[in-house]
């Protein structure tokens, strides 16, 4: 082995961060669960949209077709793909804790917040690119099954359509970050997945038991209800405006990430 005793290269912050980014990108790319989660996101979205596009027109009346939020319907696969992308976010960090790799990682990059930033950026880019592709493909698949002249037909240039389709992808991306934040806080994959889907589904289910006036005032701020607005073209009266709702959803993810960043610097690995 070469016996180098030369001084280590002086590393500035920028090249250091570039290396950490490359390392984190490689980790995500060489983890099989990433591939499965991303495939699931695309498959759930496209298959659900294709089935709905093929079956729904025959079951709806002309009136229903004219009033229904067909863009939101075409994104119905989100109910499933959000589980896959949430899992991706959780595993991006808890996978390292589960295997013990985290100690090798932190020994290589002791700047923990820098490390977490790199992880979050790589996850965001991966989730965003996949989600945009998956949501656009779902929309187009649904539309391609509709007969000519069907009232559910829209174009991306239609009012709110492009916002809803890209918004759905943003929703998935932020959901991955919410899972990532929870994973960082809890450091256990099973725990973080349970809390993530607890936070998403349980409040919405419980809210349904409340008096309807409460549902309208409180219910719209719940994570999933707030997040839903961004891919809704025909909002119901009690819903938040699309970007407001999405903003509220982002706050939940921001809270989890903030807690994660605060804790990772303080805790023993």
């Amino acid at each position: 082995m070469p016996a180098t005793t030369t001084a280590p290269p002086r590393a500035g912050l920028a090249p250091l961060f570039a290396g950490v980014l490359r390392s984190e990108a490689r980790k995500l790319a060489t983890d099989r669960s990433t591939t499965w989660a991303l495939l699931a996101v695309v498959a759930f979205n496209v298959i659900t949209a294709a089935l709905l596009g093929a079956l729904l027109p025959g079951h709806l009346s002309a009136h229903q077709k004219a009033t229904i939020d067909s863009v939101r319907i075409s994104l119905g696969g989100l109910h499933l793909s959000q589980v896959a992308i949430g899992l991706l976010g959780v595993l991006a960090v808890t996978g390292e804790y589960g295997s013990g790799m985290i100690r090798a990682t932190l020994a290589a990059v002791p700047q923990r917040r820098l490390l977490l930033t790199a992880k979050a950026l790589v996850l965001t880019a991966t989730a965003a690119v996949t989600s945009i592709a998956a949501c656009l493909a779902a929309y187009l698949a649904f539309q391609s099954f509709l007969p000519a002249g069907d009232a559910m037909r829209t174009t991306l240039a239609g009012p709110g359509v492009l916002r809803a389709v890209t918004g759905a992808a943003l929703y998935l991306t932020v959901l991955a970050l919410l899972g990532f934040g929870l994973g960082t806080v809890l450091r256990s994959g099973a725990g973080a997945v349970a809390v993530l889907f607890g936070v998403l589904f349980v409040p919405t289910l419980l809210a349904a038991l409340l008096p309807s006036s409460w549902q309208d005032t409180v219910g719209r701020y719940l994570p999933m209800n707030a997040g839903d607005t961004i891919y809704t073209v025909r909002p119901e009266a009690h819903m938040l405006a699309p970007w407001t709702g999405f903003g509220v959803f982002c706050l939940y993810a921001a809270a989890a990430l903030t807690a994660g960043f605060a804790l990772i610097g303080r805790r023993d690995a």
Binding site: P8, D31, A107, A269
Partner: protein, 309 residues
């Protein structure tokens, strides 16, 4: 060079490391010994900044480890054999670590070659045996060709050829002027590899000393004496407080005294000695002697002779 000053670490009510100060000098293999639960692994985590001490400090190459940018060039560590994602190939695992410190692909292939894993580089590390995992961990520690190496039980699971290989490697690295901190429970292996010892028990420093001094400082090993008047000599020695552990014809094995005293006694009483050999205390003897009171987890003193009848 690793320097620890007054390191203390508590986990809840347990004091894992208690006001621990020691140095690990360059150019030597320093053996890090202590019973199970003595705080060796905790100390190594504190050195790497994985855990934060409640008080005290430790530096690697003059700075706290976590203050180094690209610390793989400063120190390499093998703390646990399976600290990798089982789904990744050995090479990808190393590439992930190498990327983060700006280490080249060529170096990754070099260390794989060095630890003898070139043939398994593209296999998933999850399927590796303990010995192969140790080799992969060692490859990770060597990535930055660092002046400081810290290895926790590296020979665990290695075959005899691997044990010899790692001993030779560590001796070579130390001869190059590197600082090596090595923990192991295999005393014979440690005796062959280490130049210096840091021994801890219940989180506290018991001793730090060069191996030779450490071995010489003890009560010495059992002396072997030969005399045609063995029975008479044995009685005299016993009267002086020595213990005769074996009496076999002309030969006595004696502890609790020195060869000088035995020789003097024989001369004074006019007894003939036909042989007198000083026993060398082994590392194991000395270690047991020192840590007897600080072992947390120890088998109850059994009496196999009684059960055998």
């Amino acid at each position: 060079m690793i320097e620890a000053h007054g390191l203390t670490k508590r986990y809840g009510a347990t004091v894992a490391v208690d006001d621990l100060s020691f140095i690990v000098p360059p150019g030597q293999v320093t053996g890090f010994l202590g019973p199970n639960g003595a705080g060796k692994s905790t100390t190594m985590r504190l050195i790497l900044g994985l855990d934060a001490p409640d008080s005290g400090s430790v530096t690697v190459g003059g700075r706290p480890y976590a203050a180094w940018r690209r610390p793989l060039f400063q120190a390499g560590a093998l703390l646990e054999a399976k600290a990798f994602h089982g789904g990744r190939t050995a090479r990808n695992h190393l590439l992930c670590l190498a990327d983060s410190n700006g280490i080249s692909r060529t170096r990754v292939d070099d260390v794989l070659d060095l630890v003898g894993l070139s043939g398994a580089a593209r296999r998933r590390a999850g399927g590796f045996s303990l010995g192969m995992s140790q080799r992969l961990g060692l490859a990770a520690a060597l990535l930055g060709d660092p002046p400081v190496l810290m290895l926790d039980e590296p020979v665990n699971g290695l075959d005899p050829e691997g044990v010899v290989w790692i001993r030779t490697l560590l001796r070579t690295l130390a001869a190059e002027g590197r600082t090596i901190l090595l923990s192991s429970h295999l005393m014979s292996e440690m005796a062959m590899t280490a130049d210096r010892l840091v021994i801890i028990g219940r989180g506290r420093l018991i001793t730090q000393a060069p191996m030779a001094d450490f071995l010489a400082a003890g009560s010495g090993g059992p002396a072997t004496v030969r005399s045609p008047q063995a029975a008479e000599l044995a009685a005299r020695l016993a009267a002086r407080g020595a213990t005769i552990t074996r009496h076999d014809g002309d030969t006595l094995i004696v502890t609790g005294t020195t060869p000088e005293e035995i020789g003097e006694l024989a001369r004074a009483d006019g007894l003939t000695l036909t042989g007198l050999t000083a026993g060398q205390a082994t590392l194991e003897d000395r270690y047991m002697e020192l840590t007897r009171d600080s072992a947390d987890y120890r088998a109850a003193p059994g009496e196999p002779a009684a059960t055998r009848k």
